[in-house]
Structures are given as C-alpha cells and as structure tokens.
Symmetry: C2
Subunit: 341 residues, 2 copies
C-alpha cells in the first residue's frame, strides 16, 4: 500500500523539513538545485503523489473549473466541452462537468456544488427557460469569475463568448436570396433566448438589405425540434402565398422541414431551398445534404476557457472591463440550397 506517502515522508528520508520539500516540489526560486534534485528523486522513489486536496485547502486555489451545460448528449455542447477540456488541460486546470438538462433547478444545484467544491471559476451555458438569474449573483458576489458561453442573459454583467448569430442568420438568408429563391420564410427558436432572437433579426436584416418586404405570415415560431420543423413547414405550405425557401433557426428544425417537404413530394433544392444553423454532424449525411452555419464550437470552448483563466489569474489586478468575445460564423453551402431551377 503505497497509498499514504506525504511530503513528511520525503523530508524524513532526506533529513530536511517538509517545508523545504514543498518548496522544492513547486520549484521555489530559493531552493538549491541540489536539494531540488534529491527531493525529486526521493519523491519518485517513494512514488509520491501530491495531495491536491490538502494543497487546495491551504492555498485556497483548487485549479478546478466548473462547467454547466444543458446536456452532453447534444452534439454542439459535446464539441464545446472538447474545446474547454483541451484548453484547460494545457493550462493545468481540471474541469468538473454538470448537466442542467435545461432545468433551472439543476443549474442552481450545480452552482451550489461548485461553490462547495471551491472551484476557481465557472463556465455556464444557461438553461433555456432561465429568466431570473439570482443564482448568478451569488457567484459573482463571492468573487468567483463566471463566463457565459453560447447562450447569454441580457440583464447580467458577466463576460461571455458567443457566435455572431445575427451575422450568421444574415449570411444564411442572403445566400438563399442569391440562389434565386423568392419567398423566404423563417422558422424561429424561442425568442427569449438571445441567440434565436438575433437569428430572427439577422433574417429580417438580410431581407431588408435586399429590399424585400418582410411578411409576418412567413415567420413561424418553433422550439428547436424536428417536430417544430415539420409543423412549421406544414403551416407555411398551407398559406395563400407559400414560401419557396426556409431559413430554420437550427439544424433539427431544418431537418423537420426537409422531412415534411419530402412527404409532400416537393423537390429540394430545385423547388425549395433550406438552410439550417449549427452544422450538426448529420447535415452532411442526409439527402439532400444540409446547408448550414458553422458556429466554431471548439474555438468557443477554448476562448471561454482562456478568458476564464485570465480572469482567475489576474484577480488582484484592477478589474478589467466586461468582455464579450464574438466569434465569426461560417456559412456552409451544401445541396439543400443549391438554387432554384
């Protein structure tokens, strides 16, 4: 049982004090190279592993970062997590993962857990029906840096990393216009989420930029699901002057639209164009392949983590301004919007 080797054991072995061992191991400047070496040797000989729990208790730093996402099952978040963990690892931080499952209650519970675990900072993508944000203040009051990613909440002053939803939606809609589609509809996402609100604005902005009058009968509310895409498409196709293209608020909705169009024997992209948002993996494998907007998920994770670490490590410096990193979206043109014929 090589279980309980401590710095005291190393100290005894070398006839020095635990303090010296501690300093040697953390490469303290005022320790002789000779001592450092012998400590290293003894440490690996005894198979010593630093007890970070004790270290954290004493130093007040855990090098732990709490991350809250709606669900790891959603591809988008898995991908962001990849970016976060990769960056964290390279900076010597570890991440604790918590899923809110889109429930505000779980989200709060996660924050409590993080508070209790004394994480050095928190990264969160809030649950979608999250209106109030008292639990965020509890974190900031305690002086723990917190950064929102992907989804932000308007009335809260924290750093954030998001993709430019307006611009992405603008590009997607403009693309449909350029491809020759005439009446372009939009199936939205929940408007209380800024992302979807911005995407709708981007859609409207593109129409306006091309002098196309917006038509409210061409905007249908959706809720981020295949079903709402199908429903939306059905509704849109039943109106007096139906559209010949849809910009969907995200890929699953777009998938529903395509599915409904197929059932109604409407040919894509010759008769009808579709663009989604998110660049979910399935998009390049369905028929027709789905045009969409890439959100740079991994970059988002990396940026969020780097910003957070900067906050953590500069706590004593004069507090810098609130930061908002906005990533550029990327339009990905595939078959579903290849042009009207």
């Amino acid at each position: 049982m090589s279980q309980k080797v401590t710095i005291t054991d190393i100290a005894r072995e070398l006839n020095i004090t635990p303090a010296t061992v501690s300093r040697a191991l953390s490469n303290h400047p005022g320790i002789s190279d000779k001592t450092k070496q012998s400590v290293q040797q003894a440490a690996s000989k005894l198979n010593y592993k630093k007890n970070s729990v004790a270290s954290s208790l004493r130093s007040g730093k855990t090098r732990l970062i709490g991350v809250i996402i709606p669900s790891a099952e959603i591809n988008f978040f898995g991908s962001v997590i990849h970016g976060i963990e990769k960056a964290a690892s390279s900076k010597g931080y570890n991440i604790i993962l918590y899923q809110s499952n889109e429930s505000r209650e779980h989200e709060e519970k996660g924050m409590q857990t993080f508070l209790s675990a004394r994480v050095d900072g928190i990264l969160v993508s809030p649950a979608k029906n999250n209106t109030s944000c008292a639990h965020f203040y509890e974190i900031t009051e305690r002086n723990i840096p917190i950064i929102l990613f992907d989804r932000t909440i308007n009335d809260i002053a924290t750093d954030s990393v998001v993709v430019d939803d307006y611009k992405g939606a603008f590009m997607a809609t403009e693309h449909l216009i350029v491809q020759g589609y005439q009446r372009i509809a939009h199936i939205s996402g929940p408007q209380h989420l800024k992302n979807f609100y911005d995407r709708q604005r981007g859609y409207l902005g593109a129409l306006q930029a091309h002098k196309i009058k917006a038509d409210s009968s061409l905007i249908v509310n959706g809720n981020i699901s295949i079903e709402s895409g199908k429903d939306g498409a059905r509704k849109l196709l039943s109106i007096a002057a139906p559209p010949d293209a849809v910009f969907a608020a995200e890929d699953y909705t777009a998938l529903g639209v395509i599915s409904e169009l197929k059932e109604q024997k409407i040919r894509l992209p010759a008769e009808f164009g579709v663009v989604g948002f998110a660049n979910e993996l399935f998009g390049q494998h369905i028929t027709p392949t789905l045009s969409t907007v890439e959100q740079q998920t991994i970059r988002m994770g990396e940026s969020a983590l780097e910003l957070l670490v900067a906050r953590i490590e500069s706590k004593k410096l004069p507090v810098p301004e609130q930061q908002k990193i906005v990533l550029e979206p990327l339009l990905i043109c595939r078959e579903s919007s290849a042009g009207k014929r």
Copy 2:
C-alpha cells in the same frame, strides 16, 4: 463578502461547538432535532456553504469520480457522458472529465491528475492504440476502483461495461438473411479493437447458424469512415459473384455503402440490403432510412457509474468477483433492409 462562513461562525452564533454543528449538518443520529433545526436556520441565514475541500481532506472521501474518454466530440462518448453524469448527480457524486485524444500519454496524465485529486473512483474508455496497461495497475494498487466501459483490454482484471457486439452483429446479419438477401457481405472495422473483431465474429456466427458458408471474398477491411464504405462497396460489386447485402461494422461505413449503391443505380432495399451499427442520429434521416444496432449509450454510462459507486461504497466488505456487465444490443429495422423483391 459572505465568502468565509465556516461552521465555527455558526457555532459562535448559537453558542455551541463546531463539532455539534458538523454533526447537525450531516444529520448525525445523536443530535436533538431542536439543535438540528437551529443549526439549519443559522446556516442559511449566514449563507453557509460547506467547504468540501476541507471535508475531503479530513474524511478521505472526495465524492469525485474521474472519467477518461477519447474525445467529448465523438457523439457516442458525449452520450455515455450524459448517462454517467446524470447517474452521478443523482447519487451525489461529481465527475471530473479528461480527454485522452486517443493518446496513451494523455491517458496516463489523466490518471496521475485523478490520483492527485484523490478521486474516489475512475471510469475509463481506453485510447485505441493502448496495448500496455501499467498505468492501470498503479490505480488498482492504490485500491481505487476502476471500471472500463465500451472498450476493454483483455489482460487486465477490472470490472467493465460493454455492449454485446457479437450478439448485435449476429442479429443484424440474421435479420438480412431473414429478409431474403442471399449473399451477405461484411465491411469490417479495425480488427485490433475488440468491438470490431467481435462484430466480425457475430457476422460469421450468424452465417454459420443458418448453414451459409462464409466466403472470404465477401469480407472487406474498412476503417470506420464513409470512404471505406464506398470503397468497400465498389470492391464488393466488382467481384465475380457480388453480394446483395452488406452488414457494415458501423453506421458511417453503411452510409458510404448506400451512397455508392445510389451512384451505381442499385435500388435499396429491393435489390440490396444494408445494416449498420451504432444508431447514429443521421440514420433515421437519410434515404432510405438506415437499419442499425442500438448500443444503449446512456444505459452504458449509467451502469458504469452505478457499478463504480457500488465498488466505492462497499470497499470494506469482502471484495466481490470481477464484474462484467454486458448490455443487450437492440436491432432497429428501418427501410434499408426492408427485404428483397
């Protein structure tokens, strides 16, 4: 700054000792209800948050579980993580996530980190080129429970949770036989990974069970990609006696097969049947929809976590036998194998 409220503060407030507060908060049997109540009250009044770092140091339990996966970006693992975290959360454990990126070195580094963080247990899906396993022994020697999931390593005696790849492949192949396809081919995955080796065995087993002689010209090596599916299909269609069905080692390979068949104007499923493996999301959205084998990813995560927690919490009991949980695969029949006509 409500930062540093400790049990001592609560004790002072109520004129009792920290020990009593500690006991009251952890619902110790020998504390009067009256005291428990007043402690609860004072705690929430002062906005006390237990310092789990201190608690862990003293008690030797962190309620932290280390999880190592190849990459959170891979859908399959995201889904397993979802199951793990969900189950962990409900049992009061937190998970630390680490990605190996299929590198053995990273995997080792992750384990060292976990050792240092004094996690109560470890869940790992080993990197794919992981032959040696010295780093696993370092964990077991320290008496920390470790459980492998999805991927296992033969010569190591730990618990594991996997899906029955043999059976899934058997069912898929048998399904094609029952549907009336006559010459069934297999495009495999890397054979040094046990999962794919077992799937090939399952394919052979089903043929044998139905008294069909295996034909080595009908087995093509693939590498888990759309391209290898296309290449494989091309190769198979060019031989003297081409097959009329393919069981592909996983869904992307199957997708490649379908794509190649379409190009060659071969009709699915009337002339040719295809079944994949993994139940990737895109399967139900391509044309034709893809028959496949569901691996129960979330269940896998939940089972792995539950088994681990059982190990953690029963450490003092006589050590039970090595456990190997094998999840039942689920055949999902869709259009791509609807039968020959």
